[in-house]
Symmetry: C3
Subunit: 209 residues, 3 copies
């Protein structure tokens, strides 16, 4: 049951992030191989770095079905990328859903691998953000993780919620679900109402080298 819950989040996150990578490929008018590479790398990138950092086997080397799913989903986007009314809005929304899914799924995998709570939160953030970082770097966009809205913090909040509830003895599904909702709501609210955190300003207000 719990195995199912995590695996489901993993699969959903992979599909959602693969779509965002393929949407960027469509914006650059790439060919199908470009779609497959950029889509799949975006989908599996965060989990790959998480597994490397944890010293765990990289998840898709044991279950190549993940890679085939990435290629198939990218292929579907190749023919369907014109359907959403606004591609950039679809991209941002799917990215928010993937961020929330991977924040809790990444933290869960880290706990399963025996990591401490602090490391689990970091792994949630790594899993949730790294696919998008590669997508933006390869696609020539400015990385969304450094954007003005709340992004990495939303993933961190979701991962902290999940890890805390788990430490308090909450059932796995409740902890996963609550963490997901927390991350998604914070990110969605930030996008909807332009929430930001206070930014650095030199006290004098004078230009500063």
């Amino acid at each position: 049951m719990f195995e199912t819950a995590t695996a489901t989040l993993d699969w959903l996150g992979l599909i959602v992030f693969t779509i965002t990578g393929a949407l960027v490929a469509s914006r650059k008018a790439m060919d199908f191989v470009g779609f497959a590479v950029l889509g799949t790398v975006t989908g599996v990138g965060g989990g790959t770095l998480r597994d490397l950092l944890l010293g765990a086997p990289v998840f898709w080397t044991e279950r190549p079905a993940y890679l085939l799913a990435g290629v198939l989903v990218s292929g579907a986007v190749f023919f369907a990328a014109h359907l959403p009314q606004s591609r950039s809005r679809a991209l941002v929304r799917l990215d928010a859903i993937g961020l929330a899914l991977f924040a809790v799924a990444g933290a869960e995998r880290a706990l399963q691998a025996g990591a401490s709570g602090t490391v689990a939160v970091v792994m949630g953030v790594v899993t949730a953000t790294f696919g998008g970082v590669i997508r933006d770097l390869l696609g020539g966009d400015s990385p969304v993780i450094l954007s003005r809205e709340i992004y990495a913090s939303a993933a961190a909040a979701g991962a902290v919620t999940f890890v805390s509830l788990t430490a308090l003895g909450a059932p796995r599904e409740i902890a996963l679900g609550t963490g997901f909702v927390v991350a998604l709501l914070i990110r969605a609210a930030s996008l909807r109402w332009g929430w930001t955190l206070p930014r650095y300003r030199p006290p004098t207000g004078l230009p500063h080298r």
Copy 2:
């Protein structure tokens, strides 16, 4: 004998890719250390990522001769980079040879490490393309993997050929040689006649966000 065949491909690929990295260093008028860093990183980059993803020991940590070769080859290019009539043409041709060498050598290493056929093909593509991706990112060029011509697909075709022939029981050297030739011919033909794959176009032909 078979050990020799793979090791030979590995060494040739490393030398060829190191030269391409050092040629980029010469275009940027770097000093010798820049040549050694950019050349060696390009030469060992693909195999390094492959080994990390496979959970295998990184090949050059066990045989530092690979690193010394990278530094020596880079040094030779420092004094010889003016010899080819067209440096950019030499770079593209050597890159094609390295791509074909590493596509089969990378897939072979993955099979040796016990990976499935699908994963072996992916590892062939990773080994063949990642050195060039780092080279282009560090050198400030647009990554050749996202270029308009057939690139990652040529590596994939070579790796698929090698893995399929191996699965069908072909002798290792035949499988390696055929895969190499397939990858090289596809890449060369794409460069020679401008072969491309169909690119994404929105059906309406209207601009699309």
Copy 3:
């Protein structure tokens, strides 16, 4: 005692590089999360890649105190980044100190993990330079490792000094200290007097493709 010496260098290097990452965040007027991400990634980046390449457990997954230190130091910079008279000069000087610290600490860790002398030198350079490479890439700056002054060579000189003295039987602290001083002096002299290595020039002096 020797454990203490390496651990001290590691901690100092991490703090110093975290400050440089947070200073870049202040230049981009990021929010606190941007400071924490960019600072911590810069501080732990070099050691993380070193551990991955060595096949060793990533150091901060076993001691999360490193991550907490990165966040705390970044937070301190958030409030103190206006204090240095010249932020860019502070950044370059701290980067030089971190480079020298990590060059010997990285080589030492590699020797402890059983690596050969050549690999230990490479790991010293990787540890010393990779955090800064990520910082510059994420911050949108041109990577300092490709700058005109002596940078990677200073790290290599310090690591070679440390590895050679260790091979000659020098006490660990002497070898570490001497290597650190060598790396720092070379880098500082390069900055102070504009030392550079000879750069590539085509013999003809004619423009060259």
